[in-house]
Every structure is written in C-alpha cells, then in structure tokens.
C-alpha cells in the first residue's frame, strides 16, 4: 500500500519552507517530487531598482549563512563591468572573510547533520565551537551575520595586528576541535550506522545531474571553482580540493571536515602573506554597458551571478544561480530507493539553502517573442525527459 507523505512546507526537519512530496511503500521511498517557491521574495526585481552600492546589501540578504558568497560574487561581477581592480590587500581581506564564512557554514552544517541524525550532543559541541568563528567575524566586520565587508572596489574595513593575532589563535583552537570531530564523526557507531550507505550518488549520476559543491566532491568528482577558475588570491595559496570516494552522506561529512582543515591552512597563509597597501579603490557610480558572469565557490557549491548593465547606476538585469538549485535534481535521485527515516539526512546532506534557490525562470520564445513563466519543477521535468546520457557541451553558449 503506498502513501503520499508530505515533508514540508512546514516540518521540523526543514529549516526553510520547501515541499517534498514522497510516495512511500512501508518505509521505502518510491518517488519524490520537489516543489519550490515558498520563500520567493522578488530579489531579482528589487535589484533592478537599487544602485550598485545598495545592491551589495540586498545580495547579502539572499541568505544568512552564505551572505558573503552572494555579496562577493556580485561585487566581482560589478568590478569587472566597471573595469576596476581592487588592491591586493583588499582582495586578501575579502577572501579571508570568505574562508571564515566557509568555516562557519561547515560547522553549522555539521551540527545540523548531527541533530537530524539525533546526535544532539555532537550538535551542541560543534555549535559551541562555531561561536569562536562568529566572534572572529564580529571582530573583523562588526556583525556576526551579514558581514557587509565588501564595497565596490575593495573592502570597507582593515585588519590590524591584534585582530590578526586573535584570528590565528581562534584558528588554532578550531583546528584541534575539528580533528576531534572528524574522529568522532567517523567512529561513533550509532552515528556512522545512520549515515554510511545513505543517499548514494554515483559519480556518473553526479556528473549527469550537474551536482555542485561537496555533494559532487563526495562522489569522487573534484570540481572546485577555486581551482578551475582561480579568482583573486586562490592561485597564490597552497591548498587541495577535498574529495571522498564513498558517494554517500558519510562522504559528504568527510569532505566538509576536510574542507574545514584546508580553510584553516588557507587563512593562516593569507594572514602571513597579507600585503600592505590600500583596501579599496574609488569606484564610479555608473557602470559601462555590458554583461558579465561571475562564479564563486560558496560553501554549498558553485554560485553564479549574471549582471547586465546599461550605463546607468542601476543594473538592468541581475540573475542568481545558487548552488542548492543545482543540487535539487541530484536530491530527487538520491531520495528514490531510500528509507523514510533517511529523508532528513539525505536532504540535509546537500546543505540546502532554500532561500538562495528561490528564483523564477522566464522563458522567452525566440521566434514569437512571447514569454511564459515556468515553474522550476516543470523545467526540471523537461530536462530529465531528455536522454539521460546527453553529453555536457564543452563550450556552452550562455543563452541570453
């Protein structure tokens, strides 16, 4: 006898509203459907009415956890449109905050994964240690969330020696604690029994469904925008992409903890190599007409912003492709053949940031000029209807 069980939009397992409709038989899931739109706020439309500086703060508020990712991705695009380059010191501080944000986001995720699995003590300990990062971010930027350290042309605040020393201290403590959590996460029998073998995503499927971020890296696919397309300071630092081979939730835990350890190394290198100089260049109020795409490795995966400017001080079109959106197709695949008890874990393992992913897609028919609003689930269904082994085009043309 098969049931249709709704997870969401209101459910204790979800931090944000999303509707997952599962068809289950007993405890096994036979089909899954994702419906979005509960958190749509019209940010892309709002962005068209604000000038370049006001939009930094709007972009930050797409998400609370990866706020700096959106702000930085946007600012990278705007700086490219205005053809200005921030000074080296500004770049270092900007990406230092990026790595601090990656740490805070991964620690948050570790705690949430523990809580979804019922491992509340682990959750409490990890979040207690996350307070160290939050205090560091507050010291550097003035606020624990929504750091607002970017401005067009550089950063707004500088780092002095006491702050650098405190950051190094905090990182040293966190490194010890993270190694302990790696030991526990991989060894506590009840926890591992819950996460090993759950949410399998083989590498071919990860590639075919365009998974991004740690979800893809846990399937052995080493994609990382910071290595493929090194922007700013990442080619001056020594670091490695973290991957795992187990293709399941345990692999994703391991990948995120390894990324934590890599981030600690990167922050120490950045602090030691921090060059002297200005922290920002003066930016013009208007941007030259043009369009550009900017990519950024957010804690959840690849974040893409597209901006079209028309010579005024407001953007003409701003489009955000958040990483969680890329992982939804892989999630549907992972949910089928899973257990009901594993739904929260599988869903939490992609580190969903549903607020990031709430966008409307408008399809304009090239020939007739008619436009229609298509919901994302329709688009996905159309995409999945294409042959499963369609080749990924090497030089994809950006359709706009």
């Amino acid at each position: 006898m098969s049931f249709n069980i709704p997870i969401g939009p209101q459910h204790p397992a979800l931090k944000e509203p999303i509707s997952l409709r599962m068809t289950i038989e007993g405890e096994v899931i036979t089909d899954a459907d994702i419906r979005l739109g509960y958190n749509h706020r019209g940010i892309e439309k709002l962005a068209e009415e604000r000038n370049w500086i006001q939009n930094i703060y709007l972009m930050e508020r797409i998400c609370g956890i990866c706020s700096h990712s959106h702000a930085t991705c946007y600012v990278q695009a705007v700086e490219r449109l205005m053809e200005i380059a921030p000074p080296k010191r500004g770049m270092y501080i900007r990406y230092l905050v990026s790595e601090l944000e990656r740490i805070h986001s991964h620690l948050l995720w570790l705690g949430v994964a523990g809580h979804e699995a019922g491992f509340d003590s682990f959750f409490m300990y990890v979040w207690r240690d996350r307070e160290i990062v939050m205090d560091l971010l507050e010291m550097v930027s003035g606020n624990r969330v929504h750091y607002a350290i970017n401005t067009v042309g550089g950063v707004r605040r500088d780092l002095d020696e006491t702050q650098k020393a405190r950051i190094l201290d905090g990182i040293a403590t966190l490194r010890k604690r993270s190694e302990y959590y790696l030991h526990i996460g991989a060894n506590e029998p009840s926890f591992v029994a819950r996460i090993a073998g759950v949410g399998l995503l083989p590498k071919e499927q990860a590639v075919a469904l365009c998974a991004v971020g740690p979800t893809a890296r846990a399937s052995g696919w080493d994609r990382d925008v910071r290595k493929e397309d090194p922007y700013a300071v990442y080619d001056e630092l020594e670091w490695q992409v973290a991957t795992a081979d187990t293709c399941d939730v345990l692999g994703r835990v391991v990948v995120r903890i390894k990324e934590l350890l890599e981030s600690y190394n990167m922050i120490e290198q950045m602090i030691k190599k921090l060059p002297a100089g200005d922290i920002a260049v003066r930016a013009p109020r208007k941007a030259k007409p043009g369009e550009t795409v900017s990519r950024y490795e957010a804690p959840r995966g690849e974040n893409i912003h597209y901006i079209k400017a028309n010579g005024t001080e407001k953007p003409e079109r701003l489009k955000v492709r958040a990483p969680t959106l890329g992982n939804y197709a892989a999630t549907v695949f992972m949910l089928k053949k899973g257990f009901v008890a594993d739904i929260p874990l599988i869903f939490a393992a992609i580190d969903p940031c549903i607020c990031c992913a709430e966008r409307v897609v408008t399809l304009v028919d090239g020939r007739s000029g008619a436009s229609s609003l298509v919901s994302l689930s329709d688009l996905r269904r159309r995409a999945l209807d294409r042959p499963a082994n369609a080749l990924v085009k090497g030089k994809a043309e950006w359709p706009f």
């Binding site: 500086i53 703060y57 003035g142 929504h146 607002a148 526990i184 506590e188």
Partner: protein, 145 residues
C-alpha cells in the same frame, strides 16, 4: 569503530562550567567596531544627502524646514527600517564624519514608530583648513544601554 568513543569527552564536561552566558543577567563585551545604530552629529552635517541616496533600506530622510534662507534641515533616521550596514557612515564625506555608529543593539520596542529619531539643525559650513572650526571631541560610541 569503538563503542562510546565519545564518552570521556562527555564525562569531562560534567565538571566544566557551562558555555552558556546567562543573558540578560550577564552580557558579552562587544568588539570595538561593532555596528549598532546610526546617529547624526548635526553640527558637522553639510546636507549633501549622500547617506539618503545610498541607504539600502531608505531609512534616512532629509527634508528642508522653514524658509530656504534659514538653511534649516530635518533628518529622520528610521531605525525600524535600518539594516545596520553602516553604508551611511562610509559615504559621509565630512571629516570628522557627521554620521556615526554606536553600539546599541537592544532595540526592541512594541511600536515601531517609537524607533525613529530626528534632528533639526542648520547646515554646517565647510570653512577652509586655516580657520577650521573647533571640532567637537572625537566621537565615542555611546555606552551600552
């Protein structure tokens, strides 16, 4: 895989002080550049309206009051709209800055109209450096309430 790998750590915590800070009876110290709420130092403001133009939340409103010759202006800061980004402080062109940030963050009120602050003042005149007006003491952050 060891059973109870976690146990020694757990038991050690029985003898430690809790990590929770007993707010509101005890509070944590704020860092120096904490972004609280914005406030105006009216004697320095030259009414360039850069803060009003760049505020992402439209939280600053500057209007002229009285006769145009008086050069009196009224600035209202809508703290119920403010997102505490400090862009107004960054963009203020005067030295020392007319817009400043304090460290207040415990702003809860049951009527959002009580959160608006306003100042009525005469526009300041920028004098040449040689005869700079006696600048007020360097602004300090207001003590926590």
């Amino acid at each position: 895989m060891r059973i109870a790998a976690f146990l020694p750590e757990l038991l050690r915590h029985l003898f430690k002080k809790p990590a929770t800070v007993d707010y509101p009876f005890k509070k944590i110290a704020l860092p120096e550049d904490f972004r609280g709420t914005p406030y105006l130092q009216p004697e320095l403001c030259i009414v360039c309206k850069a803060c009003e133009r760049d505020c992402p939340a439209e939280a600053i409103e500057i209007t002229a009051v009285g006769e145009p010759a008086e050069k009196r202006f009224k600035m209202v800061i809508h703290n119920d709209r403010c997102i505490h980004c400090a862009q107004c402080v960054d963009v203020c062109p005067t030295t020392p800055k007319a817009m400043q940030m304090d460290s207040l963050f415990e702003l809860a009120a049951d009527d959002r109209h009580k959160l608006k602050k306003d100042w009525v003042y005469v526009r300041a005149v920028i004098k040449p450096k040689a005869a700079a007006p006696a600048a007020p003491a360097a602004p300090v952050a207001e003590p926590k309430a």
